[in-house]
Symmetry: C2
Subunit: 155 residues, 2 copies
């Protein structure tokens, strides 16, 4: 077979993948908000082969049904896995579409989290601003300015 | 850049591409029906880069808006282009998902058409049966058994 799997995966992700960062209130954390990066790839329920190839290639991540639209999705939420496997892959085999801009922001946010900057007010505010520039997939439960205002009130 | 473009394209197509064969009445043809194979790839309107890469790679095909869902699509309907560029690409860089079954049927139908078998009643009936086994994308305007019955009445 001539297919180069890493390149194939980048092509598939350019169509069906989604880099997202959600920010949700967590009163127990000092900063009051939790940052949750996610890399998810969808597929029709009757065609899960690519998701299994993806899971094998990246080494982990869970495949589960997406109740809303009856498809399957494979998702990685683990920061170490995102940072050690997912981010380096897309640096080596970049996306060709403007979805790459989302990846660049996602990479910056993961880098900040690896440095634990999301645990300080300033670092978190920076992450909220980066996340606000990402293409929103689905609805945002908390608008960036609401989070930034809440952070200022806490500071 | 490490990305292998042909592999990337197969990955993208596995998510966003569609092989289809429509069969429509054409009273002027001896057999009464026209076979129209199509290879189309979709993309969000704000991310047409991949469609342009695709157009460059395959050498032709048109990019146009899909009014129904506000996306762009790149489509090839020319049998020579399908046979000389598209089919050989997916033979060399095969799809990993079960969408490959659609491609196999599509390839068989294009091969029959190159041999002009769609212009005879028997050849056309064979093509109708192959097309009926393809995953229907969108609605089928003429159900396979309707076409087969019409062909038998003509024979």
């Amino acid at each position: 077979m001539l297919v180069d799997l890493p390149s194939y995966i980048s092509g598939y992700v350019d169509g069906e993948g989604c880099f997202s960062v959600s920010i949700a209130p967590r009163p127990r954390l000092v900063v009051g908000w939790e940052v949750r990066p996610s890399f998810a790839v969808g597929q029709n329920g009757d065609r899960s082969e690519v998701l299994r190839a993806m899971q094998g290639y990246f080494g982990r991540g869970s495949i589960r049904p997406n109740r809303r639209d009856k498809t399957l999705k494979w998702e990685v939420r683990s920061l170490p896995l995102l940072w050690e496997r997912v981010v380096p892959h897309f640096r080596q085999y970049p996306l060709l579409s403007s979805k790459r801009l989302d990846f660049d922001l996602f990479e910056n946010i993961c880098a900040s989290m690896i440095e634990e900057r999301h645990l300080s007010m300033e670092g978190l505010a920076e992450i909220v601003r980066l996340a606000a520039r990402m293409n929103p997939s689905g609805e945002r439960r908390y608008r960036p300015h609401v989070i930034l205002e809440a952070l200022e009130m806490k500071a």
